[in-house]
């Protein structure tokens, strides 16, 4: 075992050092106030500003109010004036604040894992764009999720107009294609049906989690809750009675009075059931759609 030689002087030196460290550690941490170098107009430090915006979900807008503190978005809440929000946000809306500002996000472009400069990125992007433009957009593929922004749609149209060989691919794991297809069959055009949940005595929902991943879910949730509250003392308490079929447990299914389960993969089909029925979720991807034509007889 190695022997540690510690002379009396060394011991005293170490003791003094540790005492000095301890005393330094005891003083309160020094805080700095960093004012603006150039004060922006109408900015009150300490008073948040709110911006009305919209968060896109399943191709539909969810009205939100974004709290901004000295230019930094810190919180996303629902916009009471928006019919799709009625003052509430979903879990996706709450989490979307990190899309606006995330301190953990990379602050500079990277090239093959190595930090690069913005100018370098611009130069390389320019090279690629020049190459694509010379081939009228051949080889350019834009991958995009469900989106109903007219601005983005106009920009994509302009892009295709300029580069006719380019292609835009839309895909979203949470899509409403079947619901839209049903609406097209029924009304001749793609429409989004809006249910008056509040007035329903009983709800039969076939594989539609209208409180969870429906574009109008926040409004539906508010209506659903309102329908379950006695409106006045004399009115009889008539709660909404939801009957749902879904292979998995969700808040929608948890609110249901009855929840007959079906095997995963036994999705319902819009055409035959006749009800507004959406097939949402990764399990109903286009690739596996053909396998799922069987329908439980209890639904029909």
């Amino acid at each position: 075992m190695p022997s540690v030689k510690l002379t009396r002087r060394d011991f005293l030196k170490l003791s003094a050092a540790s005492a000095a460290l301890a005393s330094a550690g005891c003083s309160p941490p020094a805080e700095r106030i960093v004012p603006y170098a150039r004060q922006p107009e109408n900015e009150l430090p300490g008073v948040p500003r709110f911006y009305a915006s919209a968060a896109s979900f399943v191709g539909a807008a969810e009205g939100v109010l974004i709290e901004s503190n000295t230019g930094r978005p810190t919180k996303v809440e629902g916009n009471p004036a928006h019919p799709g929000s009625t003052g509430s946000t979903s879990i996706h809306g709450q989490a979307s604040v990190l899309q606006l500002w995330d301190p953990d996000r990379s602050k500079a472009p990277r090239k093959r894992g190595q930090p690069a400069t913005r100018a370098q990125f611009d130069r390389e992007l320019n090279d690629v764009l020049t190459r694509i433009e010379s081939r009228r957009g051949e080889g350019l593929r834009v991958l995009i999720g469900a989106c109903d922004s007219p601005t983005l749609a106009a920009q994509l149209t302009a892009l295709i107009h300029r580069l006719p060989e380019a292609r835009v691919h839309r895909w979203d794991p949470l899509h409403r294609d079947r619901s839209h297809e049903g609406a097209r069959l029924a009304f001749g055009e793609v429409l989004e049906p809006i249910a008056r949940i509040e007035e329903a005595g009983a709800i039969l929902s076939l594989d539609s989690r209208f409180l969870d991943d429906h574009p109008f879910r926040l409004n539906y949730a508010r209506q659903f809750a309102a329908a379950r509250t006695p409106r006045s003392a004399c009115a009889a308490f008539t709660p909404s009675r939801a009957r749902l079929r879904s292979p998995a447990r969700w808040p929608t299914t948890d609110t249901a009075c009855a929840w007959p389960t079906s095997k995963p993969g036994c999705s319902t089909r819009t055409k035959r059931s006749g009800a507004t029925c959406s097939s949402i979720g990764a399990s109903s991807s286009a690739a596996s759609r053909s396998r799922r034509r069987r329908m439980p007889s209890s639904i029909a």
């Binding site: 005393s23 003083s27 020094a30 106030i33 004012p35 170098a37 150039r38 430090p45 300490g46 008073v47």
Partner: protein, 187 residues
């Protein structure tokens, strides 16, 4: 000569001496290092030796000229370099002491002032409500017009806050319960 103390007693004495040294060290650190009066926290060095005595006492500039958000926000506001330069682009415009200020305005890199009045982060203090209810700046910040370098005169301890809240509640016939409720400051 026989030994005065037996070995266990000698050991106990050594331990007692060591303990005494430790106790003295702890007291010394507490009194002369950790307490704000001696740690430099009451009047820290600033990036520019700004004198409130000169600006407030001699020149008579209103507090709100620089601390402009004190009536509207929880934060009183520290002036931007541009606000300082409204005067100092003309007065003392080439003083070496103001070089950090000119550099800040030139480069856009802000100055970092040392905070003198620092409340714990679990206290929600709002300047605007205190000013709106007629509490003068001097009540908490002291006579800054006599301070060449800004210093803290109030302890900023909870007892100090409550003393004033109790006194004002009694003087203005307000609800003591509301003025001293936990959630009034700890939200």
């Amino acid at each position: 000569m026989p030994q005065v103390f037996r070995p266990p007693a000698v050991f106990a004495l050594k331990l007692a001496l060591l303990a005494a040294v430790l106790v003295i060290a702890v007291i010394w650190v507490t009194l002369y290092k950790a307490l704000p009066a001696h740690s430099g926290a009451l009047s820290p060095q600033q990036p520019i030796p700004f004198s409130h005595k000169h600006h407030v006492g001699d020149d008579g500039i209103d507090c709100r000229y620089c601390h402009w958000s004190v009536e509207k926000s929880s934060f009183a506001g520290i002036p931007s370099a541009q606000v300082c330069l409204t005067c100092h682009s003309q007065l003392f415009s080439d003083a070496a002491i103001l070089e950090p200020l000119r550099e800040s305005a030139r480069t856009g890199k802000p100055l970092a002032w040392a905070r003198v009045h620092d409340l714990p982060d679990f206290v929600y203090f709002d300047h605007s409500i205190h000013v709106a209810k007629g509490v003068g700046c001097v009540e908490c910040h002291g006579h800054v017009e006599r301070m060449p370098r800004i210093e803290r005169v109030a302890s900023l301890e909870m007892q100090w806050c409550l003393e004033c809240h109790r006194r004002e509640a009694a003087d203005r016939h307000l609800s003591v319960q509301r003025m001293t409720d936990c959630s009034t400051c700890h939200r």
